[in-house]
Amino acid sequence: MLLDVENLSKSYDGPAGRVPVLSGVSLRINAGETLALTGESGSGKSTLLHLIGGLDQADSGRIVFDGEDIAALDDRARAALRRQKIGIIFQQFNLIPSLTVEQNILFQARLAGREAASDASSISAALGLTEQLEKYPEQLSGGQQQRVAIARTLVARPKMILADEPTGNLDEETATVVMEQLRSLVDKAGTALILVTHSPALASRMAHQRHLSHGRIS
């Protein structure tokens, strides 16, 4: 078992008191598996992903990833986990504007202390980025920027990728191509993938699908 989420709850302060976002959510995923999380806006999909990625802390419950309870880790250890074992792909790409495409792609792998030049080269080629390596993110289209974000995550060789609406800012055609490439590379690397999406079509391409509604999973 790579990830075991048990009875996870999270709420936020709202104008009328605490607003529950997740209530007793549990899910499991094995190494190399893919899982789609669907749900309406505000159902808690992104919150769940942030908790699994160690970006946020749950009110209660357990997240055991690769044998470690993420909820019990401090800020520093959670940061180390993200550097070494978890890759996150965001809807807004979150590239570093001051670094070139090539530097962005290598960035997380280098943070993790991995030599990744050959991986970067092959993954960039697979994603059609070879011609863009010297450019800066602002010089790329949205689709190209998301490919760079995917390449950055894959080159770091994480055990699990969390993708939060990765094609939400892309047109349908580009979204399809980008997802195909992501799926193909994930399969090839044997990396687990949790995909948060609104799109039933994208969700259907994952091995497992779970639906979140009002903070509860089904």
């Binding site: 806006s41 965001f90 939060d164």
Partner: protein, 798 residues
């Protein structure tokens, strides 16, 4: 429509109070430093003008002695008889229990009616003033003056502090100068067919109106230095405002675009934005005026002491709030706001209706503009070099300084960018690589504060090098000039003779003889020196023609100081006219630091021939050490301790005057550095919210918030250190310009330049610490940023 639009535009400042604070603080600080310095200058000049107005200086022609400082009363009588409408003036210092007062004696019957003295004399009945029974004085001096004169002292607030006014007869008695006058004021409307002055009074020379008062001329260079500081500080403040306004306008592009799509014209929006800048500038200006007043009031005592010590100029110790001053300060705040906002307004006016760009893109575009900036910087540095090579005037000197500083400031961001790019290329780890790249990306915004820091450090290095070089040279000069062990003031001719008689008893007593004189239209001091081995052993010449002292002793040559040499262009070998009938070759030129007045030294025999009435009442005495001499002079000659000053005390007094000047300089130095520190702090705080998305991405990839905070501190330190590397040579160039170009033009002497590596190291450390302190709060805030703040960046859900 105006109200709704104003509310919409204002909502931006409401949501970004820090940016508003930055702008107000920058403009207020700039205005404060500018207006503070202007207030100091205005106050001092008002004091000179008030003193000068008493005798109509500047407004009326005056007759002055061609040689020496006294006019015989007979010359006045001869001129009146010949039909010349002249009024006599006698001026001199009168000792008071505490300090002294400048006593002006006038004749109200012949004094031109437009002079302040005539108006003030008219405040008491004519007959009473003429009776010689009345002295008018400033209320602050009246009580003290009343204790030393028998006449009635009438307080009069219109009279300048430190000045008193009396009938000429009474003044001659009080100053013990019977039948002597200092100058003659010539009425504005002269009768036709007057005989030439050269026929009636050949010993007098005419100084035309508007030639300015001596005091104003002497102190001009001091005020010029203060003004230069004011301008520099203002420029530093405007850098802050420029950054804040630029960012605010860029971030409001979307709002302006939206308002335009809702039917508001660009012209209307521009008018609203300009009005908004105007109001903020006015508000900041008001704060600046208050701060400027506080600054000026706190520095005025030191400035007044410096002016009094250096030039004998009396400046009132309290600051007046002149309307012209605060109005001009508000004007300069508006001008500064307009200058800082001009380019942002222009760019906004060209905003297309349908495209959008975020601030980061603006930053990138600004970086592209650096190429142009680099070219302008190089051109300015060339202009500076041309000004230095051409030289020849104070304008050229200050022009060179301005071009050098502006050129270097404009060249700083491109230079920093190139250095950071190099460092990025050398970086090994991912964090290091991101650090350098990210630092380079922040340059368009941080560059402005770094330019401010560069100017501040440069000014510090330049001015402190000048001041310390001055100090070192001055101490050497004092050691050279204050060769006597004890300086004695005698009260009677018997005491003077007794001191001269000590020479037979193993003691050297050198009389210090001097009179005021004029070389052309310039005031100068003529000294008579009893030449002996002491002078030859202690004095060093900047330039000399063969053997000096023996020729001076024989009455065959004169020594002049550097000021006179430069002003009159007289150098060893040239002849100087001591009187109308006597011209002597210049044998040597001596350095005479801190003295703005020309000086001529001749042998005491020839001096006595020219001025037989001048008796020595001061002596430099050597032999046996200061303590032994003091005791001997007290026991054998009955001198009072107050009549003797040992060399150490005199040196300390002289140095104290200069320390006052340094205090003013150091305070302004510190303030400039503080403003630069504020620029960094405000830039970092302003940038903090803009940088959240970039930092969130890095944080999500596994760099902790604490690490980000530490890197923020490191960024400030690195940029400050790099700026320092450029500021050091730049500061030394500034020092060179101040010492070798501006000093020569302003003061009339050249100073050797010394280097002070320890001082520079301390200044460097202080600058880096200032940058670190400025970055500390933003760094702590970053390290404590709640993860939720970063998570907002990734949130796709409502």
């Amino acid at each position: 429509m105006i109200g709704v639009t104003a509310a919409a535009l204002w909502s931006y400042w409401r949501r970004n109070p820090l940016q508003l604070l930055t702008m107000i603080a920058g403009l207020a600080l700039a205005t404060a430093l500018w207006s503070g310095v202007q207030a100091l200058n205005a106050e001092a000049r008002a004091s000179y003008a008030a003193a000068a107005a008493v005798v109509g200086e500047g407004r009326y022609d005056q007759l002055l002695p061609r040689v020496g400082d006294r006019i015989a009363q007979d010359s006045f009588v001869a001129l009146r008889r010949a039909g010349w409408p002249v009024g006599p003036v006698l001026e001199g210092r009168l000792d008071l229990p505490e300090g002294e007062v400048l006593l002006l004696g006038i004749d109200p019957l012949t004094m031109p009616a437009g002079t302040g003295a005539a108006a003030q004399a008219a405040t008491v009945p004519f007959a009473r003033f003429l009776s010689g029974d009345v002295v008018l004085a400033h209320p602050d001096d009246a009580a003290s003056l009343a204790s030393v004169v028998s006449a009635d002292v009438i307080p009069n607030a219109d009279i300048t502090q430190g000045t008193a006014l009396a009938d000429i007869g009474l003044a001659q008695t009080l100053l013990q100068k019977p039948k002597q006058l200092s100058r003659l004021v010539v009425a504005a409307n002269l009768p036709l067919r007057l005989p030439p002055i050269s026929d009636v009074a050949p010993d007098l020379i005419l100084q035309p109106a508007q030639a300015g008062s001596d005091t104003a001329q002497l102190t001009d260079s001091f005020h010029l230095n203060l003004t230069a500081f004011g301008i520099l500080s203002f420029a530093v403040g405007i850098f802050i405002v420029y950054g804040a306004v630029g960012l605010a306008f860029e971030q409001r592009r979307a709002m302006v675009r939206a308002l335009r799509t809702m039917g508001l014209s660009m012209r209307f929006l521009m008018t609203m934005l300009i009005a908004e800048i105007g109001l903020i500038s006015l508000f900041s200006g008001l704060i600046g005026v208050v701060l400027g007043y506080v600054l000026a009031a706190s520095l005025l005592p030191d400035v007044a002491a410096t002016l009094r010590g250096l030039y004998g100029a009396q400046v009132a110790g309290t600051l007046q709030l002149h309307p012209s001053w605060w109005l001009s300060s508000l004007g300069i705040a508006l001008l500064g706001g307009a200058a800082a906002a001009a380019s942002a307004v222009w760019r906004m006016s060209r905003l297309p209706l349908r495209t959008g760009r975020d601030p980061q893109v603006w930053a990138m575009q600004t970086a592209r503009g650096w190429r142009v900036q680099s070219v302008v910087a190089v051109l300015l540095l060339i202009v500076a070099a041309v000004f230095v090579l051409q030289g020849g005037s104070l304008f050229m000197g200050f022009g060179a300084v301005a071009a050098l500083l502006l050129g270097a400031a404009l060249g700083l961001p491109p230079l920093l960018a190139a250095t950071l790019r190099f460092a990025e290329g050398q970086a090994k780890g991912a964090v290091a690589q991101w650090f350098w790249a990210d630092t380079r990306q922040q340059l368009p915004r941080l560059g402005l504060s770094m330019m401010a820091l560069l100017l501040a450090i440069t000014a510090n290095i330049g001015v402190s090098t000048m001041v310390s070089s001055f100090r070192l040279t001055f101490i050497d000069f004092l050691d050279q000039r204050l060769f006597a062990e004890v300086y004695v003031s005698t009260e009677t001719e018997a005491q003077a003779a007794a001191i001269e008689a000590l020479a037979d008893d193993g003691v050297t007593a050198l009389p210090l003889l001097s009179v005021e004189t004029r070389i052309g239209a310039q005031r100068a001091d003529l000294y008579g020196a009893r030449v002996g081995p002491v002078y030859a052993e202690n004095w060093q010449f900047l330039a000399q023609d063969g053997i000096v002292w023996p020729r001076v002793a024989a009455g065959e040559a004169a020594i002049i100081n550097e000021q006179l040499a430069r002003r009159a262009d007289l150098w060893p070998g040239d002849k100087i006219a001591i009187t109308a009938d006597l011209a002597l070759p210049v044998a040597g030129v001596v350095g005479d630091y801190g003295n703005p007045i020309g000086q001529i030294i001749i042998g005491d025999d020839i001096f006595q021939t020219l001025h037989p009435t001048a008796k020595p009442n001061q002596f430099g005495v050597l032999g046996g050490g200061a303590d032994v001499l003091t005791q001997r002079l007290q026991s054998e000659l009955g001198l009072a301790p107050a009549q003797m000053i040992d060399q150490t005390a005199l040196k300390a007094t002289s140095l104290a005057v200069f320390e006052r000047t340094f205090t003013v300089t150091a305070a302004l130095n510190l303030l400039t550095l503080a403003v630069a520190g504020a620029a960094i702090l405000l830039s970092l705080l302003t940038m903090a919210s803009m940088r959240v998305p970039q930092l969130a991405a890095v944080w999500a990839l596994g760099i902790t918030r604490q690490q980000l905070g530490r890197l923020e501190l490191a960024r400030a330190a690195v940029l400050a250190a790099l700026t320092l590397v450029l500021a050091l040579p730049l500061g030394l160039m500034l020092a060179y310009l101040l010492l070798s170009v501006i000093n020569v033009e302003a003061f009339g002497w050249q100073l050797p330049m010394f280097l002070f590596p320890t001082d520079y190291a301390v200044l460097g450390l202080v600058s880096v610490i200032a940058a670190l302190l400025a970055a500390l709060w933003p760094a702590v805030r970053l390290a404590r940023t709640a993860p939720a703040r970063f998570l907002q960046v990734f949130s796709n859900e409502a």
